[in-house]
């Protein structure tokens, strides 16, 4: 408790977006300026935090000066800073593209407060150490995310948003019920209490409730039913935030919980991996059948979430000491590549005027830079070297092979082939010119709005070259490894 700094970067990362959201809501005309400034400042705070974590490995701030379990502490380690950095950097680039993509005044006015509240919730999850606090945070995220889903104002978006809200609230309630059971058993809610607890049937029941709630929120097959419509019908920047960042919050909580409160049986780890394989297959098949570009991208998210769960289960319960790193790499890779892809898909839809995959090659308008961006993002999602997605898949398969779990390697291979197949449907539309109606239109190959998605896609590819420093960074503070 001594020598506490009066303002630490963790507190800043919570309060900056919160105040930004309120300011953007009160002053709708200045919302864009306030929003951009806030997101920039947030990234600055995260950078400061990363700098401190490199030196100290972990930071803890007991809010209100009350130590857990009575109070709530904020804690940052390598993994949580990596998630904060993903959120801050992707968020900044999506914010830039929102300046161009949001056309009508209502959307521009409401995007910023909702997005900044979402950012508050996401940052809160990554700094949280208390399961009741995490419940409150996922409620903040859920309401802001539903608001962003229906921002486009179409009938389909409102319907999808309503379904998303039902699924989200059900997930949060299941989680809360689990939290209640934990408190009943342990009399405390902080992570340290969970780690110290002796396993019991009641704790397993509580964990089951929390995990099912989180799976619903992160849309693991077969609980993915709400995701495709919600992500496909939102405006492009909102889709990028929902698919790139929002589903990762529940995934992150799942990763923490399942390590602090080990699943009671090896079969459950295998079951989660099997559900992941199911998601990979079902999401890919649906992506092959999708008629619209944004729906294809949304189904690919379902498949990729499955892949992350395969990474989690790749070497069983004992292998979790290492497996979480493969899952974390895939989370980072998917967050960056998928937001690039949704923004690029939005740009293509804006320029061409529709996003029907079958008719993309009929269009005389070819937004080439956006198409290039889409292809780069697809390369990372498919997992070609040297992208970050490749490194993630590589470490997944390496771990599975070492543990002798061949079935996970087979599932990953099949999923990879299917992803090549469904992305090729889109590339064919980009590259064929023989069905084009009329002459190729005046060159509108690129616009300033392509810059943000292109930067994200290039990052998804080139960060693969920095995999070693990223891996050693997320291990700082021993998120899971050295815990008793």
């Amino acid at each position: 408790m001594n020598n506490l700094m009066s303002l630490d970067p963790m507190t800043l990362a919570l309060f900056l977006p919160l105040f930004g959201a309120m300011a953007a809501f009160i002053a709708p005309r200045a919302a864009s300026v306030i929003g951009l400034a806030t997101v920039l400042a947030n990234l600055g705070a995260v950078g400061w935090l990363a700098f401190e974590i490199r030196a100290a490995a972990e930071l803890i701030t007991p809010l209100g000066g009350w130590a857990p379990p009575l109070g709530i502490a904020l804690r940052a380690d390598g993994l949580s800073v990596a998630m904060l950095a993903l959120t801050g950097a992707v968020g900044l680039l999506v914010s830039f593209s929102a300046l161009d993509a949001l056309r009508d005044a209502r959307q521009r006015q409401y995007f910023w407060p909702l997005w900044l509240l979402l950012l508050t919730g996401l940052n809160g999850v990554y700094l949280g150490t208390d399961i009741f606090n995490l419940y409150v945070m996922i409620e903040v995220i859920a309401l802001a995310a539903v608001g962003l889903t229906v921002l486009s104002g179409t009938r389909e978006a409102v319907r999808a948003g309503l379904e998303y809200m039902y699924a989200s609230i059900l997930g949060a309630l299941l989680f809360l019920m689990g939290v209640g059971f934990v408190y009943l058993q342990l009399g405390r809610l902080d992570f340290a209490g969970l780690i110290a607890a002796t396993p019991s049937a009641a704790l397993s029941a509580a964990l089951a409730l929390m995990v099912v709630g989180l799976l619903l929120k992160t849309a693991l097959f077969p609980l993915h039913f709400w995701l495709p419509a919600a992500h496909a019908n939102a405006t492009a920047p909102a889709s990028a935030l929902l698919s790139g960042l929002v589903v990762k919050a529940a995934l992150y909580i799942f990763l923490r919980l399942s390590t602090y409160m080990p699943l009671p049986d090896e079969i459950l780890v295998t079951l989660l991996g099997a559900l992941g394989a199911g998601a990979l297959l079902w999401g890919s098949v649906q992506a092959l059948r999708a008629e619209r570009l944004k729906l294809l991208v949304a189904w690919s998210t379902v498949a990729q979430i499955g892949l992350i769960f395969i990474a989690f289960a790749r070497a069983g319960q004992v292998g979790l000491v290492e497996s979480w790193k493969a899952a974390a790499l895939l989370i980072l890779a998917h967050g960056i590549a998928k937001s690039a892809m949704f923004l690029a898909a939005g740009r293509i839809k804006d320029e061409v005027g529709h996003d029907i995959i079958r008719d993309l090659d009929r269009s005389a308008i070819r937004p080439t830079l956006a198409q290039f961006t889409f292809a780069l993002a697809a390369i990372s999602l498919i997992g070609l070297p040297p992208s970050l997605g490749f490194i993630g898949k590589w470490s997944l398969m390496e771990g599975a092979l070492q543990a002798g779990y061949w079935h996970w390697v087979v599932a990953t291979m099949v999923g990879t082939l299917l992803s090549v197949a469904y992305f090729s449907r889109v590339f064919a539309g980009f590259l064929r010119f023989d069905r084009m109606q009329g002459a190729l239109a005046e060159h509108k190959g690129w616009a300033l709005a392509d810059l943000a998605p292109l930067t994200l896609a290039l990052a998804a590819i080139s960060l693969g070259l920095m995999a070693a420093p990223i891996l050693s960074f997320i291990e700082l503070g021993y998120p899971f490894g050295a815990m008793p």
């Binding site: 507190t11 309120m22 209100g64 407060p113 919730g121 049937a201 397993s204």
Partner: protein, 326 residues
């Protein structure tokens, strides 16, 4: 050792479950809502019997009062857009289809299974420790207030409470931005009796709401309960059309929505410095700061709940509405 009220408790428990079943079985939505309100009131009573008066007050004010009003408002709107109020149905509206029996049976079986599993796990486990009681009792002298629940909500775990107020703010922003494209259902004509009732009830509600807030520092009550009761003032004003939201009021409404969150977050940040972290109130000023936060949060909660009841950003209404519903 037997509690003389054991019979009452048993009856209460059975009634709560029976009402829950009745709500789900009710074919008529209006009946379902009324049953839900009764269910909420009996649950509040159950919370009181479980020695959780704070939860009981919250259940009665928010879970039952405000939620019931929101449900009735939604039902009115649904009847309007589906053409049940001597009105043309809104374009594209299709009547809701009943849920197939198979789905109901599957859901019931699934929920039953989960409940059974939880019951087995719960009954088979050793009961846990005392929870926060000892820690709270030890820290109470530095909290600045005398009521443990208030100390937990606004001091020890104030961060959670701030974020719960943020949830409410996110809700009202999300509701305001939904593009409806439809005009509102006209409010029903409430007649003379209603005006008289409003005149009598308004002052009483204001007193009760403020009392709940004020008592919060030493006895059950506080911002959420007081705010929900005060929201009833807004509901009465809206229903009796003593107040009609207009586009010009948007700015003021936005300020009132963020007032509680803003003040709470500002206090949490401003107390830092000199070795203090966020939310660490100086002990001698804790009570003042907590009361200040609670007061402003109450105002925001009341205004936000009333705005949620209104259900949309105030828009310029076509003038034909005025003689349509009188």
């Amino acid at each position: 050792m037997t509690d003389p009220l054991i019979l009452f408790d048993l009856l209460l428990g059975v009634s709560v479950v029976a009402l829950a079943v009745a709500v789900m079985g009710a074919r008529d939505l209006f009946a379902a809502i009324v049953l839900f309100v009764i269910f909420g009131l009996l649950s509040a009573l159950a919370w009181a019997r479980l020695s959780a008066p704070d939860v009981a007050l919250a259940e009665a004010a928010i879970g039952t009062g405000v939620t019931g009003a929101l449900l009735l408002k939604t039902l009115h709107h649904l009847r309007y857009v589906t053409g049940q109020l001597d009105q043309f149905a809104a374009p594209g509206m299709t009547p809701a289809e009943p849920v197939p029996m198979g789905v109901i049976a599957a859901n019931a079986a699934f929920c039953g299974l989960i409940t059974l599993g939880l019951a087995v796990a719960y009954l088979g486990a050793p009961q846990g420790g005392p929870g926060f009681d000892a820690l709270v009792a030890e820290a109470m002298p530095q909290s600045g207030v005398e009521h443990p629940v208030t100390a937990v909500l606004l001091n020890f775990r104030a961060y959670d409470t701030l974020m719960e107020v943020v949830v409410l703010l996110a809700a009202v922003i999300a509701v305001w931005q939904i593009e409806r494209g439809l005009s509102d259902a006209p409010s029903p004509d409430l007649g003379q009796v209603w005006q008289g009732f409003a005149r009598l009830a308004l002052p009483a509600i204001v007193v009760v709401g403020t009392y709940l807030l004020w008592k919060g520092s030493e006895a059950p009550g506080g911002a959420f309960q007081g705010g929900a009761v005060l929201a009833a003032v807004g509901l009465l004003l809206l229903l009796s059309r003593a107040y009609v939201p207009r586009p010009a009021h948007r700015g003021a409404a936005r300020l009132l929505f963020v007032l509680g969150t803003g003040a709470f977050a500002a206090v949490a940040l401003l107390v830092t410095g000199g070795g203090r972290v966020a939310f660490q109130y100086p002990p001698d000023q804790a009570k003042t700061l907590i009361l200040l936060i609670e007061g402003l949060v109450t105002i925001s909660i009341a205004v936000t709940l009333a705005a949620l009841f209104h259900g949309r950003e105030p828009v310029a209404l076509p003038s034909r509405r005025d003689h349509h519903d009188t």
